[in-house]
């Protein structure tokens, strides 16, 4: 078996999900290569070489990989795919975007969002918003897999992998990158945060999210939201935790004014400790909470912030 992990990075550092994906790859076998494709990405490649469990880092440094466009990334992965039995990427916005393209070009199925590995060809993945766990088997010659990063803990320690250069594939010319409008925040990223404070429809409006931000700042937490809050226009979509948003599993998840639709629970129920604050004593969020308060959030949240 030869396993390839596609690293998600910003050319300087690896994104959190990459180390989790490497941990999943290491469960499959020892021969793990990591592809770092970027532009002026030597720092990211050096970081990948130090992750335990990595045997080899493949580096491609070219302008067309400065941002991960799906067309270019898929063509690049395809150019080296035949050397591998398994190709893995994190099931983040990054991996979801280009991996199905790789699978289709290889004429193989993709196994999306795996949360468990039973054997080299059998994997566990959540379906129906995580309400059902399916065990699926692939007989395809190459397994193209995206990994639910919260399901695999990064390995401890440090590695020292060899680095090799891989040839770039010409820019597809199909897509032109125009720009990013990234949410600027001093708070940690949702998928990397140790603590998350999330708000739902009960917040009433976007302005009230300041209450959560104050609490998050006390806790060094990230701020998230339910789909209902995104739908109502309180916050932007990158806040969304849930089936179709981000999947998180922090040490502490504080759900405020979130009723707990199954689509939201899908994104956070693997959190270690869940706290729910809701004035509706019947809210389904309480079914997954370790601790809950039936209280008006506009009273409880400032109190909690003050008490910390």
């Amino acid at each position: 078996m030869a396993i390839l992990v596609i690293a998600e990075h910003d050319n300087k550092q690896l994104k959190t999900g990459t180390t989790n994906t490497i941990a999943a790859a290491a469960k499959l076998g020892a021969d793990v290569s990591v592809l770092v494709a970027g532009h002026q990405c030597a720092d990211a490649a050096a970081a990948a070489a130090k992750v335990p469990g990595v045997a080899k880092v493949l580096v491609v440094d070219a302008e067309q990989y400065a941002v991960p466009l799906a067309e270019n990334f898929a063509a690049l992965v395809l150019s080296i795919a035949d050397k591998f039995t398994h190709i893995l990427a994190p099931a983040t916005g990054f991996g979801k975007n280009f991996m199905p393209r790789v699978a289709a070009l290889l004429d193989v199925a993709q196994i999306s969002d795996i949360s468990g590995i039973e054997s080299a060809d059998t994997f566990v993945r959540p379906i129906y918003a995580g309400n059902v766990m399916a065990t699926v088997q692939s007989k395809d010659r190459i397994k193209v897999i995206t990994v639910r990063i919260t399901a695999f803990d990064p390995a401890e320690g440090a590695g020292q992998a060899a680095t090799e250069t891989v040839a770039a594939v010409a820019d597809s010319g199909l897509t032109q990158f125009k720009g990013h409008e990234l949410t600027k925040s001093a708070r940690p990223e949702l998928t990397a945060a140790r603590v998350i404070v999330s708000g739902g429809r009960g917040m009433g409006n976007g302005e009230n999210f300041k209450l959560l931000e104050a609490l998050a700042d006390k806790l060094g937490a990230a701020v998230g939201a339910s789909r209902a809050a995104v739908d109502s226009g309180f916050v932007t979509n990158d806040y969304q935790v849930g089936q179709t948003g981000k999947i998180v599993a922090p040490e502490l998840y504080i759900a405020v004014g979130i009723s707990g639709a199954i689509q939201h629970l899908a994104g956070m129920k693997d959190s270690k400790v869940i706290v729910a604050i809701n004035k509706d004593a019947e809210a389904p969020i309480f079914s997954v909470a370790n601790y809950w308060l039936v209280e008006d959030l506009f009273k409880a949240v400032p109190e909690l912030t003050a008490a910390l």
Partner: protein
Amino acid sequence: MKVLVGVKRVVDPNVKVRVKADGSGVETANIKMAINPFCEIAVEQAVRMKEAGVVTEIVVVSVGLPQCQETLRTAMAMGADRGILVETDVDVQPLAVAKVMKAIIAKENPQLVIMGKQAVDNDCNQTGQMIAALMGWPQATHISKVEPAGDVANVTREVDGGLESLTIKLPAVVTADLRLNEPRYVTLPNIMKAKKKPLEVIKPDALCVDVAPRLTTLKVVEPAKRGSGVKLADVAELVNKLKNEAKVI
């Protein structure tokens, strides 16, 4: 321009699904079904583009059981012009759907294909990307905006840290995210009108597409339940529990 929209029939997202007693799958008999919410957004987008005069014809396609005709009728009640059902009782997986769509694209020659970003039953998030790959077309997934401009389209994608803007050459495949639009409610007169719109039914064989599944589901189970929690009296007790019992702050 002509737009092709893929729609999937799924278990209504508000229904709590149950695992079949023999663990072979999810119970779908006598369960309320609906158009996949992201497919609904995709249809709405096509209809809005038609209302804006950018799109001339909307063709909706579904792959699956005969009952998918209902899903196509829903899309036509929203404003799609005609429907194609590629009828099969096989468990169609994303790669198979992408191959079917490729065959339909060859016949229909659309300039734009709009898909939902993911179906809420199998949560795969693959089909749109696979269609783009098989066609050798550009793609833009998880979009919150699409504006055709001549032979390109300007799109905004929802990415993990915010938004990304791309210009993609047409023809292309885009997949709809939540904030692209808010789908309209279908009205009774439009439901009646949709019944008269053309709906073609064809078999995968007629398109020379192999729709056999690649992944075998060995078993499905319900996930482990979380232990039951405790209701607390006030904020002071919560702080105490988090500090001294859970030790997370």
